[in-house]
Each structure stands twice: as structure tokens, then as C-alpha cells.
């Protein structure tokens, strides 16, 4: 069947709730409304208000009560309505959700999934287009993933909910309406494994979440230039699958890392550091970055100048090839 990414995630939550009656889904407007992006559409009708419920408008409350519910024995799936609205919960994320297992010397586990629509490209008003992945990925104790395909929307949601550790699923909101075939049961790679989406020989392009589609388009466009790009879908930001990246770099000798998030100290910086350490003698050029700028996210009418696109990726590819 052909479904959107939002529908695939919805189906993933649905099937997880059907498989395990300890799974709860809650957040702001996720009940009757079905979420502002309709990702939780019809779940409350199906599973009732005790398992799918609207919370008060309080993000710290959502994450803090998720922790209590998990300690009690539930498997909470919490939604932050938008990336920029997760910040009020920052302390519960970093001081408790991430640390509880370690603080308790392994005695308390928190199988909490937090879904966060993230990233820009939809012409949204301020605070609705943030890319905060480094905050979460830099916090020991959290796992951070981002699906870039419809099949992964389903499979990674299921895997995150099944995991016994806290997992943050960054959902690429600009791709919610992206359509593809979804044949169940889906078998994809393990949650934290990077995947080569398109083999190539000249330059490796690493992307995740919303930028995967852009990277694939860049690879199509590159063909016209006579360049063969290998696109690696990173999928997981914590942990990072270094081995898959190294293997690709060993094949191509060149790498461009793409993300919407601001450049400095972003995921690309960590990947570049790992690559030069692990594959130094395979490098034909410096690892280059096609990312957002180190500014606040721009107003909607300027976002096309800020976001990485096919041209920005190909500029970096050309730089790498010319080096």
C-alpha cells in the first residue's frame, strides 16, 4: 500500500499499542485532534482515552510524568508538538530521562519514546523549524534517531517503542506527506545502523531525516555532471554507526555531510572527526559540510536561503572532487 510518512508512523504506533497494552501515547492535542500533523489520528478512538490522551500544555510535565509512568511499568510514547517547544522539558530530558538508569546503577530503566517533529522547510512561523538534535545526541543516556523513508517511519517507530532505553525519534516534519509503498511486516536494518541508500564511487554524501530525500535528489542531479554519489542514510545520531561510514569512505575517499542543523559543533563535525581518525589514509579531500548557517533559524521567506538544498550539496561535492 502507498502511505505517507505520517501514516507510516501512525501505523507503527498503532501496531506497537496493539502488540503491548503497556504502551501509552500522550502529548498536546494528540487525542481527539489526532495531533497537529495527524500522526496520532484515530489512535484515541481505537485504544481509548486511558491509553491515548491529551495532556495539559506543559512539556516538562509531559516528559516528567512519562518518567514516572515508565518507573511504574508503562511504556510511554510522548509527543513534543514541535522541536522548539521541547525546550521547557530540557531538564527532565537531560537530568532525569537520560540519567536515571545510570544514577540508579542499572536498577531503574526508562523505556520512554519521545517523538519530536523537527526541522524546517514548511514555511512555519518562528520556533517551529528547529533542528535541536545535537542537544539530545550530546546527552549521554539518550538514543536519538531520525527516519528518512516511509518504511523507516514505521520500522524505527516500532523499534524505538520496543527499546528499553529512552529513544528520541526526530520526525522530519517536511517529509510527513512524502509517499511510498509500505508492505508489512517491514524489515529494515537495526535501529542504530546506517544504511547505504544509493551506491556510488566518487563521493559519499551522508544525510538523515529530512535531508535524506534532498541528498538522493542531489545524487540524481550529480549523475548529469558525471559524478557518482554514494548516499548513506545515517538514521541514528546516538549512537553513530561509524563502521558503515568508514566503509563507504574507504570506497569513495571523499565525504560530504548534510544536515539542517547549524554547522558548528553539529553532527557533521563529529562525523568528520571520526572519519579523519578512522580512515585518514583513505581521504582524498577534507570532509566537507552542507548545513544550515550558525544563525537562528530564519523567517519563513528566507528559509530557502538558509536550508541546505541540492545546489549547496553539489557545491560541496564539487569542492571535494576538485581538492
Amino acid at each position: 500500500m502507498t502511505v505517507t510518512l505520517a501514516q507510516a508512523i501512525n501505523r507503527g504506533i498503532h501496531d506497537a499499542m496493539e502488540a503491548d497494552d503497556r504502551v501509552l501515547m500522550f502529548g498536546e492535542d494528540v487525542g481527539k485532534l489526532g495531533g497537529v500533523f495527524r500522526v496520532t489520528d484515530t489512535l484515541q478512538e481505537t485504544f481509548g482515552t486511558d491509553r491515548v490522551y491529551d495532556t495539559p500544555l506543559a512539556e516538562s510535565g509531559i516528559i516528567g510524568t512519562a518518567i514516572g509512568l515508565a518507573m511504574y511499568g508503562f511504556r510511554p510514547v510522548a509527543e513534543m508538538q514541535f522541536d522548539g517547544f521541547a525546550y521547557p522539558a530540557f531538564e527532565q530530558f537531560t537530568s532525569h530521562l537520560a540519567k536515571m538508569r545510570n544514577r540508579s546503577r542499572g536498577r531503574v530503566k526508562l523505556p520512554v519514546t519521545v517523538r519530536i517533529p523537527f526541522g524546517g522547510g514548511i514555511g512555519a512561523v518562528e520556533h517551529h523549524s528547529e533542528s535541536p538534535e545535537t542537544y539530545w545526541a550530546h546527552t549521554a543516556g539518550l538514543k536519538v534517531v531520525s527516519p528518512g523513508t516511509v518504511a523507516d517511519g514505521y520500522a524505527m517507530t516500532r523499534a524505538a517503542i520496543a527499546a528499553d532505553d529512552p529513544v528520541i525519534v526526530l520526525e522530519p516534519k517536511r517529509r510527513y506527506w512524502m509517499k511510498d509503498d509500505l508492505e508489512l511486516p517491514v524489515t529494515t536494518e537495526p535501529l542504530h545502523k546506517a544504511v547505504v541508500r544509493r551506491p556510488g564511487t566518487d563521493v559519499t554524501v551522508v544525510a538523515y531525516g529530512p535531508m535524506l530525500k534532498t541528498a538522493m535528489e542531489a545524487a540524481d542531479a550529480a549523475e548529469e555532471e558525471g559524478w557518482s554519489l554514494e548516499v548513506v542514510d545515517l538514521r541514528s545520531l546516538s549512537p553513530i554507526d561509524t563502521d558503515t561510514l568508514v566503509a563507504s569512505l574507504q570506497r569513495t575517499g571523499r565525504m560530504v555531510v548534510v544536515h539542517e542543523a547549524a554547522q558548528s559543533l553539529g553532527p557533521a563535525a563529529e562525523i568528520a572527526a571520526r572519519m579523519q581518525q578512522e580512515a585518514f589514509y583513505h581521504l582524498e579531500a577534507p570532509i566537507l559540510r552542507a548545513t544550515g548557517y550558525d544563525t537562528p533559524y530564519p523567517p519563513a521567506m528566507l528559509e530557502e536561503f538558509w536550508l541546505p538544498d541540492v545546489d549547496r550539496i553539489l557545491d560541496r561535492v564539487e569542492e571535494a572532487l576538485d581538492y
Binding site: M71, G73, S95, S104, V108
Partner: protein, 374 residues
């Protein structure tokens, strides 16, 4: 017309705290019966309250000594708050849960938690070392008031399960200014979660006094805003604290929802062993507060009632001393564990996070061992 739609069907005046804090014991130990706050305890239980308070004071003092001797990095004393903590925790059943801040040794003693294990956080051997599921006593929470949300969430879980347990969140007057207790009480009110928010108003948030913390008439009045009853009691009166908490706990267990309790007490010690109260409060104020000592008052009551004689008093003191010694033995010169344990508990399923960093630390440790043996 024009009035906003009320959220609940509760008459706000029924949620208000009493005009005066509930008070059952005078400083000379005289007991005043209050039909609204019955003390349904038998003689053994009344003696047990005393035992818990005396043990608490002893282990608390011993922990300060251990810090002075360099055995603990820091310690947060609860001196003066024994009645508030013990009276509150004593109103819970074994199946109920406590979510403490970092100053809750009295609640830990009442729950039967190993006091020595509570000190690993302060010694720095690990960040905790008791099993929360054993005595239903969550980890100490240092970020102020954050545990209130865990208590609320846990209570919501119990309610979803029709499990008749109650959770209790302890926090202080300073925490009532934070956002998390506010959100916790908001959630608890909406979901009618069986949670009791127990504020020990010890008058001081490190150096900031209550009147710089809030302009609320009392902290208990805040309850009305969340649609739950506000209780106000003399927190240095263990019977008042017990009776008020008991009422709130029974009500929560019955399905009627959460409550907020403000127990008026006084932090007789410094904020922690690193603090110097002489910079912000007078000796005279401390001496005045010491006159309301909760243990002195309760001991006079027990003696008046013929429930405590010299022999029993000595027996309790000996038990407290033994517990303090046992605690000291657990923590004195307790070594840290294997440094490789740093990687062990971060994730249930460590999916390659530490592959390379583990090797780095192992190499450093091997080099150190080499230096030691060389």
C-alpha cells in the same frame, strides 16, 4: 454572563487551608484532640514515631560528622524537620511510593531504607546505591522540585491500573517557585492522580527566606489553583503532620485525587555542610526555632501518656546509636567501584556507544597499574 467557565465543579472555599495550621501537640507535650484530624495510632505505633525521629536525628548528626571527617563530600542535614518527614512518611502504606528531594533521611528511615546506602551519593562512590523498588523509595533528586513530576506520573500509572497506591512527593518551600511542581500539580489535578505533594516549609531556600520566595498567603493556598485541597500543619508536631497526611493519603487512595500539604518547620542546620548560615540569619532566630524542637515536644507527650519511661528511652537511644554505627560502617572508607563501571549502566542495550571509549579507559587503567607495579 461574562464570567469564565469554571474548569471544575468544586467550590473553591472547600479547598482552602484552615485559618490556622493544624496543631495537636503543645511544646510542653499537651495533646489537643481534633475531630477533623484523628490520630488512629496504637501505643506501639506512637512509640515507633519516636523511634524513627530519634534514629533520624542520630544518623543525620553522624552524617555531618562523616563529612567533617572527610568521608563525605557534602551532606544536607534535616535537623529540625524530623517530625515533618517521619509523620508524613508514616501515613503511607508499604505499597505506596516516596519521591524525595535530597534532604529526606527521615523519610528514608521511616521507609526502612538502608541509611548507609543513602550516603553513597554524598560520598561520591556512586550516584545512589539503594534499590528504589525494594522500599518504594525513589532516588534522591537534586534538581529542585523535579521529582514532583515523577510522583505525579507514577500516580497516574497506578490510577490507569486501578492500583490503590498513593505516591508522595517531598519538596521544600523554595521548590514551590519552580515550574515542575506547578506542572506536577496541574497534571495531578487534571488526572485526579493519587499523589500527595508534601512541602516542608523550612523557611529558608539556602539563604533566601520565604517572603522573598512567594507572595502567596501560605504555600497551602496554592492548592486551590490546582483544584486540590490545601492542608496546613505544624510540621514540628509529628501527630499533626501524621494526621493531616493520613487524611490526604486516604482521600487520594479513595480516588478523590491529589492534595498539597504545607508542613511548617525550620531548617535548624545549614543548607548543607558547605553553607554558612551566619551570613544571612541571626543566632537569635536559630535559638528561637530550637525551642520548637519536634523531638523534645513529642518525648514530653509520650512521657505524659505513660508510653515512654527511662528504660525505653535508653533502648531507643541505643538503637539509634547502633544504626548510626551501622551506617558509618557502610560508608567509612567505602571505595569507588571499578572505573569500567562508568560505561555499564548508561543504557540497557549499549548499541555501540562506548566501543572505542571503553578501550581508551581500559588502556589508561592498564598504564596506571603498570606505574603502580613499576
Amino acid at each position: 454572563m461574562g464570567a469564565s467557565q469554571p474548569a471544575g465543579d468544586v467550590d473553591p472555599s472547600t479547598l482552602l487551608p484552615p485559618a490556622e495550621p493544624v496543631h495537636l501537640l503543645d511544646p510542653d507535650g499537651t495533646y489537643h484532640e481534633d475531630p477533623d484530624h484523628p490520630v488512629d495510632l496504637d501505643d506501639d505505633q506512637l512509640r515507633m514515631l519516636y523511634r524513627h525521629m530519634v534514629v533520624t536525628r542520630k544518623v543525620d548528626r553522624e552524617a555531618i560528622n562523616l563529612q567533617r571527617q572527610g568521608q563525605l563530600g557534602v551532606y544536607a542535614s534535616l535537623l529540625g524537620q524530623e517530625a515533618a518527614q517521619v509523620g508524613g512518611a508514616f501515613a503511607l502504606s508499604e505499597e505506596d511510593w516516596v519521591f524525595p528531594s535530597y534532604r529526606e533521611m527521615g523519610a528514608a528511615v521511616t521507609r526502612g531504607v538502608d541509611t548507609g546506602k543513602m550516603l553513597h551519593l554524598f560520598r561520591g562512590t556512586w550516584l545512589s546505591d539503594h534499590d528504589p523498588y525494594e522500599h518504594h523509595f525513589a532516588l534522591y533528586s537534586i534538581p529542585i522540585g523535579t521529582q514532583a513530576l515523577h510522583a505525579a506520573g507514577f500516580a497516574m500509572g497506578a490510577k490507569f491500573d486501578d492500583n490503590p497506591i498513593v505516591t508522595m512527593a517531598y519538596f521544600g518551600d523554595g521548590a514551590t517557585s519552580e515550574g515542575d511542581p506547578h506542572e506536577a500539580m496541574t497534571f495531578a489535578g487534571v488526572f485526579k492522580a493519587p499523589v500527595v505533594f508534601f512541602v516542608q516549609n523550612n523557611q529558608w531556600a539556602i539563604s533566601v527566606p520565604l517572603d522573598q520566595q512567594t507572595a502567596a498567603p501560605t504555600l497551602a493556598h496554592k492548592a486551590v489553583g490546582y483544584g486540590m485541597p490545601g492542608h496546613h500543619c505544624d510540621g514540628n508536631d509529628v501527630l499533626a503532620t501524621y494526621a493531616v497526611t493520613r487524611k490526604a493519603v486516604d482521600r487520594a487512595r479513595s480516588g478523590a485525587g491529589p492534595a498539597l500539604i504545607e508542613a511548617l518547620t525550620y531548617r535548624m542546620e545549614a543548607h548543607t555542610t558547605s553553607d554558612d548560615p551566619s551570613r544571612y540569619r541571626t543566632r537569635q532566630e536559630e535559638e528561637e526555632a530550637a525551642k520548637t524542637d519536634p523531638i523534645v515536644r513529642y518525648k514530653l507527650f509520650l512521657e505524659k501518656e505513660g508510653l515512654l519511661d527511662a528504660d525505653l528511652g535508653e533502648q531507643v537511644e541505643a538503637e539509634a546509636a547502633a544504626e548510626a554505627t551501622r551506617m558509618r560502617d557502610e560508608i567509612y572508607e567505602a571505595p569507588h567501584g571499578d572505573p569500567m563501571e562508568l560505561f555499564e549502566h548508561v543504557y540497557v542495550d549499549d548499541t555501540g556507544h562506548f566501543e572505542r571509549q571503553r578501550e581508551v579507559l581500559a588502556t589508561e587503567l592498564a598504564a596506571r597499574d603498570g606505574e603502580v607495579s613499576a
